[in-house]
Amino acid sequence: MHDVQIAVQIYFIGIVIATIMAGIIKGLQVALARIGSKKEPAAEEGK
């Protein structure tokens, strides 16, 4: 039983970290896309 608990704990930690990673990936993508979209009009104005 103790070993099953260890395995469940390890999986739980894994799920938490993987979800945080996925959230960070999503956040990064959104943030960088916004920066990109702000730069484009600025570049066009410069033309």
Binding site: D3, V4, I6, A7, V8, Q9, I10, Y11, I13, G14, I15, I17, A18, T19, I20, M21, A22, G23, I24, I25, K26, L28, Q29, L32, A33, G36
Partner: protein
């Protein structure tokens, strides 16, 4: 002159313990068989051909080191004291590679750098949650095998090492078994690479068995975000943040993380000379020596360990459960996405980049030639590497504390 002293490979066979001598003969035959399977493409040739040659040579080339002692001049994995290492480095021809690259995990890191260079993380950035969700399910074997191994009498470290075979990442298994169960790292790694080679043959049957034809042929309709272009800058930002976060959480596995993300950042930064160096030189150099050294480490005395049979069973259980877990994950995404998902993609979450993604695509195309799922499968596959690294990091960090 005594003929058996002249031809010492045969002489040692006659003078050794019959069990060891028989084991040597079996392993010579096994080495030849691995070479055959590698050349024929039944098993992964990049690993199996050098491994088979290493295995047959180390078991054939045993000589009398003294009047009472037999051994080889390949390498000595057990020597630990500095004087002993210095002596062996000058005698055993593979000892420099083993001491400087294998026992410290450098070889696994070089393979990971190469994998980083050939990996496009764009698909992960497009579908981070879906890919990560599938990859987490595809770690079923990595988790479930641990208590099974404990129940079969293995220690905590040994159980963790064999459970990590379920991550389907050879370098990860090598790294973790060196950290957690050094006494059985040879059989664990050999079992891992043997079964990873068999994924080519086994996983297609899993897909055919668990995913009916009408679901295998589903064409996934991608949304607008699925067609957005992910820039190199976004990918490099992901590499930097991901690497920092994982290194902060699991410093023990930091060498693996930094190797993978550095390789990927080099790919995306467009430094072609480094990319070619890592892919063409480092990756193939490390893969060749990994296979060759694993073969050389397969001495009869090492593999006649009674635990090897348990490891063979558990390795298969671990990889099998991970495959099933991945497909369960695929089914759940299929249901969550309103049936707009191909469950066969789930198998790609097992990692083993890019083999499982290619298997998924191949099986899907056999049913429906218009169904292109490779992008989604590669996303799940790369997230499989990330979740494998996370779980390996948790095991390596947690087990010594228990």
């Amino acid at each position: 002159m005594d003929v058996l002293s002249l031809f010492q490979g045969i002489g040692t066979l006659v003078s050794q313990d019959p069990a060891i001598a028989a084991g040597r003969l079996v392993l010579i035959a096994a080495g030849i068989f691995l070479v055959y399977c590698g050349v024929k493409g039944l098993l992964e040739p990049l690993i199996m051909v050098p491994m088979g040659f290493g295995m047959l040579a180390v078991n054939a080339g045993v000589l009398f080191l003294s009047a009472t002692q037999t051994g080889t001049i390949f390498l000595d994995p057990l020597v630990e004291d500095t004087d002993g290492i210095m002596t062996v480095l000058q005698i055993d021809f593979l000892q420099p590679v083993y001491t400087m690259m294998f026992s410290n995990g450098l070889i696994a890191c070089l393979v990971f750098m190469g994998i980083g260079v050939i990996t496009d993380v764009g698909n992960v950035l497009r579908y981070p949650f879906t890919s990560m969700f599938i990859a987490l399910f595809a770690e079923l074997g990595t988790i479930v095998t641990f208590p099974i191994a404990r129940a079969m009498g293995l220690s905590l470290g040994e159980s963790a090492a064999i459970a990590i075979v379920g991550t389907a990442d050879g370098p990860m298994v090598l790294f973790a078994s060196l950290m957690l169960a050094k006494d059985i790292f040879v059989p664990v790694t050999v079992v891992a690479y043997l079964y990873l080679s068999l994924t080519y043959a086994g996983y297609p049957f899993f897909i055919r068995l668990l995913v009916p034809k009408h679901l295998r042929g589903i064409v996934v309709v991608t949304s607008k975000k699925g067609k957005t272009n992910i820039t190199a800058g976004q990918k490099i930002a992901f590499d930097a943040v991901g690497c920092t976060l994982l290194c902060l959480l699991f410093p023990v596995a930091a060498p693996l993380f930094v190797s993978f993300f550095t390789g990927n950042a080099i790919r995306e930064s467009g430094i072609l000379k480094y990319s070619k160096l890592l892919e063409d030189v480092f990756l193939y150099f490390a893969t060749f020596f990994l296979g060759f050294l694993l073969g050389v480490l397969c001495e009869a005395s090492t593999l006649l360990n009674p635990k090897v049979l348990i490891l063979l069973v558990l390795g298969m259980v671990s990889l099998g459960l991970s495959g099933i877990g991945g497909i369960i994950g695929g089914y759940l995404v299929y249901l969550i996405n309103g049936k707009n998902f191909n469950p066969a993609i789930g198998i790609a979450g097992v990692s083993c980049v890019p083999t499982t993604a290619k298997i998924a695509q191949h099986e899907v195309v056999l049913v429906n030639k218009r169904a292109i799922i490779l992008n989604l499968a590669m996303g799940a596959c790369i997230c499989g590497v990330i979740t494998s690294a996370i779980l390996t990091g948790v095991y390596v960090a947690l087990i010594p504390l228990i």
